[in-house]
């Protein structure tokens, strides 16, 4: 059979390919996880409807890109204009959900808000189904085609675009949260709502803003997932929603850096468990590792509520 070198080479190839797969998947999870973690950090709510915002983003992407393409704009313009418009749309949607379903419950128990979020999730998912139909919707053409090979691992340009946009958004978010006045206000509100209100921060507006930013990120993730897998469907938000929520908790919920790390880790575990152990039990491994980590580090990898990295 094949010489040992060849065999080893094949193993490396396999590993590299899985690494690339893991980074792509992890990047998407990280973007969705940020929304969970930011909202949690500021009002301690597991926002079940976040997955639906992600799906709405995917749909907005299809709708806008198809329209722009039909108007004859070049792919790059279509993509960037659609991305910006769809992110704005999702931000408005998330703010509406917040005003309608969460704000009136701010003084009630956290479980009441959780339930309201669950109701909103069902409502939005079925709303998407009613307006967009039960069939999958295809993204027009592959906006970014082709790919190249490094050491036997195929990397498509699509993956580069995904990772690129993810990194760009993450850097942008970090600047926003840690370098601007708004970011400071967000961190202050997350730490102590009463106190920050006393020093003149409009906490209600800040909470709205947090929802909007989280939604915009999820929306970008939705569009990229749609382009990567070629289609979107109204219930596409559920599975990544649960995974991203796990990622947020794994990293230490409320912690932005943690959410990014958590997303990447969950993506990697899934891909490597499927590649090396068993594809049907990959989610089991992801959850077991999650439980194991939480058992030894009860507040996640990066820890919760550490000084001012919390939003």
């Amino acid at each position: 059979m094949a010489p040992a070198f060849h065999k080893a080479h094949k193993h490396v190839e396999f590993f590299l390919q899985q690494l690339v797969n893991g980074i792509t998947l992890g990047g998407v999870y990280a973007l969705v996880a940020l929304g969970y973690t930011m909202v949690y950090g500021i009002i301690q709510l597991i926002n079940f409807a976040h997955g639906e915002i992600f799906a709405a983003g995917g749909y907005m992407g299809v709708i806008l890109i198809s329209w722009l393409v039909s108007q004859g704009y070049p792919p790059f313009i279509c993509l960037s204009v659609a991305l910006v418009l769809a992110m704005g749309y999702c931000a408005l949607l998330a703010m509406a959900v917040e005003k309608l379903a969460y704000k009136p419950l701010r003084s009630s128990s956290r479980l009441s808000v959780l339930l309201s979020a669950l109701g909103m999730s069902i409502f939005l998912q079925n709303g998407l189904m009613l307006t967009q139909g039960v069939y999958d919707r295809a993204y027009p053409g592959e906006m970014v085609q082709g790919g190249f090979e490094i050491g036997g691992a195929v990397i498509s340009y699509m993956q580069i675009v995904i990772v690129g946009i993810t990194v760009l958004l993450l850097v942008g978010l970090n600047i926003l949260v840690f370098k601007t006045r708004i970011g400071k206000a967000m961190r202050a509100t997350a730490q102590d709502k009463t106190m920050s209100a006393l020093v003149g921060i409009n906490s209600s507006r800040i909470i709205s803003l947090t929802f909007a930013i989280g939604a915009a990120l999820a929306c970008a993730a939705g569009i990229m997932v749609g382009m990567y897998y070629g289609s979107v469907r109204y219930d596409m938000g559920f599975v990544p929603g649960v995974k991203a929520f796990s990622a947020a908790v794994l990293g230490g919920i409320g912690n932005i850096t943690g959410a990014m790390l958590g997303g990447l880790i969950i993506g990697m575990i899934e891909v490597f468990a499927a590649g090396y152990i068993s594809s049907e039990y990959k989610d089991v491994f992801a959850f077991i590792i999650l439980i194991g980590v939480l058992y030894f580090m009860p507040t996640g990898i990066m820890g919760e509520n550490v000084d001012d990295t919390r939003v």
């Binding site: 709708i63 049907e280 089991v284 439980i291």
Partner: protein, 404 residues
Amino acid sequence: MTTPASRKLWLGYAVAMLWFFVLLWPLLGITPEGLEFATSFGIWSKVAVAAAIILALWQLKQRGVFGFVSRPVEALSDSLGKATGVVPTWVWLSLVLAGALAFPLLTERYAHDVAISVLVYVCLGLGLNVVVGMAGLLDLGYIAFYGVGAYTYALLSVHYGLSFWLCLPIAGTFSAIAGCIIGYPTLRMRGDYLAIVTLGFGEIVRIVLNNWMSLTNGPNGILGVKPPGTYWWSDGKIDHIWLGSLEQFYYVILALAVCTVIAVYRLNNSRIGRAFEAVREDQTAAELMGVNTLRIKLLAYALGAIFGGLAGAFFAARMRFVSPESFTFIESAMVLAMVVLGGMGSIPGVILGALALIALPEVFRGFELYRMFVFGGVMALMMLFRPKGLWPAKRMGARSEERD
């Protein structure tokens, strides 16, 4: 007419409607064929008119225009409330029980079927109530115990032919063990970490059920589960019969639900129940008072799991079939929703919650595709109007500052 308050209200209305249109139109109006406004404007105008009417009515009500209607109604319901207060509780309970017993005689099979589902979920809700409502531990994977119970009975019935009544305690025991396994690693965690870990366990159980072909037959499920049997007087001699019809199932699950209600009620008022509450309110203080918090938490998981397991065993017997599709995360979320919607820690509340969440989707069947859409909206609305639940629990020994 145009007081500042009302002006503000209508300004809010205008902003909301504009916002709504901005959200609605891109979904319906942007197509590759071009931009289109008619459809979305049609829907939008209906919603806008409806919202305006509701708002106007509400405003009139605020001004007391409907006083001539609401005052007598209020008076009537007040006196009704007083009258109901006079009648002792046991009269109400027996009335409810009599109604429940007579229910199959008055209705048709579809109603029986829905009623059976409601009662199964009453058992589940009460079980979860022990964990969430009483002990204050958030559990998003409760349906796993239901699954363990269902598969325990299904497997024992199909492979060993054991009877339902014998399997009930076995299913309960297995679920309790599962509860302890899940409970143990979560003891050190708080609040939302607990949520994700229990969610993870729920998913693990479902995935294992779906993949362990040799034991559970995977996605194909297990067929041919026997209904409960009993000995009954027929044709002049005592004979063994299967309780296979819907009415018979109804009475079996009614008995099970009544037992669960009694058990949870007794638990609520027991030493352990108080310990649960102490752990929920302040873990450190409870420990200081000599409550072994670790053991109490494990006990809460185990007890909650037992009720889930019993309901699961019944579910397997009633369906005569189990498959992993019945034990998804959304079911866990539904059971949690029953507990929260009904009012945490309150037994009548959980029953009302189960009634609402199982019966409503069936009531909404008439809406066809709009069924779950309406359901989700109603769920969020209910929470907005009654954030403490439909029938909030009365606090045991309320603190003086909390008395109304």
